[in-house]
Symmetry: C2
Subunit: 522 residues, 2 copies
């Protein structure tokens, strides 16, 4: 029997609150670096020796996970239960990479087969574009693909594209238009040879204001160029749901489908990310990414938290949020290729768990999702790390690192390569945050330490590793939602702004709001 | 007589704590939208009608500003007083754009003249590159400039370059290498025609590990290409201090100088930003940026907070941090061109005021600099805004908007242009955050409101406006430092990591740290 109860109704949380808080400094030992380490899927490892976790805490976290039945809830989700309670929808992004549980049927359709079928369709399509079987409307080979989408249709696919473009030979260059700011579309379109460009229009509902405005922008800009025999719609494919207005428009080259059971921020492994990544790198690279994600999903089914990296990460995050009271978490990848990965995680986490009501829409009285931010190291070291080291608030840290670089171009300088310097800095920062350094004679140079830091690491940022990294965080966020008793799969908080924007555009908003708009319009 | 006292020693802070906290919702009126508006320099306006500020609070904030003598301290800083107490240095970034106060002499040198002289030198240099009087070492015209620097030598100049590249015809394309991750340099160098590329090496100390490694990387990669008659050092200019090891190396094409009185994160208007921006856009555009910054600096000298946007912004930030207890602040520019401006402000603010000791290195017991993060709107609306609207923590918001776009390419769709949609969204979001919308029958759709939001806006993001925007935030951060009694101009918190990284590289760190490094190295 599955129970849904708020965090503050659990015995586990009461017990957790009564435990002594272990020292972060004291638990950062060679022994814990060995033992507090969990395989996270593919070749990714999660190490939490810098988080100050002792045996009593581990037992309490395990008890809380058991009491909140997080693995049972994950299994239910995999089996097709309606876990998006607000919108009364299944949550099936795991099925886009592999079937972890039984078959999921909906109106007699096997949804795993549906996702696989779409994946096969866009793989074939990408292959045909690569071989030149599919050409632009004026007979030229496609060299550039532009994803037009916003939020989940942009941040995840963009972060993944940037993460892979050093390691894999690009078959096509990918670009992205997201913002309704006209400068975003104008600059990207201006940089493209339209006869050799394919646009991917991504909107599940087919009604996203920004994406429809940008579709129109592309069509108008193309028309203005007056290219002989150019048919703009034949340079556009759609990724949308079968019931959307876009799906009914057969003037596009082709449409690929998702459904309401794939939330935007969880959609990178569906056609939302798959079409652009398959076009950019080939479907074999996308397949590797899916394999990595599926492996992380499988690891996340362990009931033993010592074998479940995503769940351990989730529980430590809860401990830091609800017991230690820390309001933010920094994501610090030591890889320039992950430059936009923190922005994707910011959406994934803050949009999923930035909620004040539980899954039954009842008000809760404990803190939920933290503020997520981050930039790649070592860049951040020369920026906001000052506050992380010596600020008045403690901010828990999540480091990500790799043994090898992607480009395999490196040089020795003063006895070490750049990659070795990068990893020396990563290890140094974790140590500095955790251990600190006492300087009583000059407090300006004093480092209190005790800043908790975890590390996700792998030999190299490959497609497989990236898939596991992506799924690790998706599953972490899902587990935290179960622990907090939230619905992590809707986003009602984005609705009011949309309504008001439309009221302003139709001149129906109240006088104060119209006045503010008037100031802006000048 | 100037007094330096901690915030919690002031009468003003005690009085502030005793005031009733006004409702944010109730104060968001048409009248306040008119009256709670301050010119911020150039054509920039700061509006705080969404911040919930009433007359009693305004008086208390003015009293606190007066008691902490923030304007007197700003004047002292301008006059060349040693305001960077930890490092015993003057703080003279204002002098790079215009002399707001009297002459500043140091060892009989007039420092305003020194900065002006450097500015003239790099203006002339940029003009010669543009006219072709200066060519690459193999006789080809320079088309690309690559800034090699990290932290303050990267984030500000990069954000400003991106902010201006739509509006001004680029004379040269600019690129940036910052991270010690070898993939960062490898990808950028690979994308350059080295015979037509000029590298700008930026390090004040001339000892920055990442920048020296990347210099070496450029030289090695260039040597590998074996270009006939190519002299790598003749494709490199330096921006450094006159006493640095780099300045002693005359193998470079030319060196431009800054000094210890210009902190990295405040250096965008010095040669650190000036060389790359003058090369990219021409010195007239950089001059306009300086004019805008100087105008904001002049506005910041008003003692009356109702006429001093930067000081008002600083005081409201303090009120939100120390009275309301909010730990983060989001920066939300509704302009894709400002995509990296939040990353610059993240450094500016968090590195300046992320401190736990006062200017005399004594421990303080109140909160200082908040966590700063942000992404452009409308993108963020489809991402982390869910938490901003309905999360359990309140996060104060700073919006930035412009009436006109930069590219002047726009289309009507469903009755409005993209730019109008952008501004309708901006006005809608401020209203939604501040006013909320009650939905007692379904709390999942309930918006509590009361999320405080301010707005900086201007007709267009020009170089002049951008200069004012940059200086507004520099001055805001400086004023908060004075209010908190901090030294906002050093960054001791970045030192320990550097020391430990070097210990690791020379195999001298302790066993636990070396073990962690070993895990990473694989």
């Amino acid at each position: 029997m599955i129970r849904y109860q708020n965090l503050d109704q659990t015995k586990g949380f009461s017990q957790l609150k009564e435990l002594a808080i272990p020292s972060v400094v004291e638990h950062f030992t060679k022994e814990n670096l060995e033992s507090q380490s969990i395989r996270a899927g593919a070749d990714l490892t999660f190490n939490y020796a810098g988080k100050g976790i002792n045996q009593a805490l581990l037992s309490a976290l395990q008890a809380l996970a058991d009491e909140q039945q997080v693995i049972d809830k994950y299994e239910l989700l995999l089996s097709g239960e309606m876990m998006n309670t607000g919108e009364k929808r299944k949550v099936l992004h795991h099925l886009t990479r592999a079937q972890q549980a039984g078959e999921v049927l909906f109106h007699n359709e096997n949804l795993r087969h549906f996702y696989q079928q779409q994946q096969k369709r866009f793989s074939d399509f990408a292959n045909k574009v690569h071989t030149g079987e599919i050409l632009g409307s004026t007979g030229k080979k496609i060299t550039t693909v532009v994803q037009v989408g916003i939020g989940g249709s942009d941040l995840g696919p963009r972060a993944l594209y940037l993460a892979l473009q050093n390691l894999y030979l690009s078959k096509l260059e990918a670009k992205f238009i997201s913002n309704v700011d006209p400068d975003d579309a104008a600059i990207i379109i201006d940089s493209c040879d339209l006869e050799r460009t394919l646009f991917i229009l991504v909107s599940k509902s087919g009604t996203t204001q920004e994406t429809l405005a940008n579709r129109n922008f592309v069509l108008e800009a193309a028309a203005k160029q007056q290219i002989l025999n150019f048919i703009p719609n034949k340079h556009m494919v759609c990724v949308t749901s079968q019931t959307s207005p876009l799906a009914k428009d057969d003037s596009y080259l082709v449409s690929f489908f998702i459904d309401d059971f794939i939330g935007g921020r969880y959609s990178s492994t569906s056609a939302v990310g798959g079409v652009v990544l398959s076009l950019a790198f080939g479907s074999d690279v996308f397949d590797e990414l899916l394999e990595g994600a599926a492996d992380a999903d499988a690891h996340a089914r362990h009931r033993d938290i010592a074998q479940n990296a995503a769940l351990m990460d989730a529980l430590i995050g809860l401990y830091e949020r609800n017991i230690k009271g820390y309001p933010s978490t920094a994501i610090l990848p030591y890889s320039q290729a992950l430059s936009r990965f923190p922005a994707h995680l910011q959406q994934l986490d803050m949009e999923s768990n930035g909620k004040s009501v539980n899954r039954d829409a009842q008000l809760i009285s404990y803190s939920t999702g933290p503020t997520i931010f981050g930039e790649p190291g070592t860049n951040g070291q020369h920026s906001f790390y000052q506050l992380l080291h010596q600020g008045t608030d403690i901010i828990p840290l999540q480091f990500i690192g790799f043994s090898r670089s992607q480009c395999a171009v490196d040089y020795d300088f003063e006895g070490s390569t750049s990659q070795t310097k990068l990893n020396a800095n990563l290890a140094a920062q974790i140590s500095a945050f955790v251990l600190g350094k006492s300087e009583p004679s000059n407090l300006n140079k004093n480092f209190a330490g005790g800043r908790p830091a975890s590390l996700l690491y792998a030999p190299q940022l490959s497609a497989r590793t990236l898939g596991a990294l992506l799924a690790h965080y998706e599953n972490k966020v899902m587990f935290q939602g179960f622990l907090w008793n939230l619905n992590s799969f809707d986003q009602e908080g984005v609705q009011l702004g949309k309504v008001l924007a439309n009221e302003i555009l139709s001149n129906k908003a109240d006088a104060t709001i119209m006045h503010l708009f008037g100031l802006l319009e000048g």
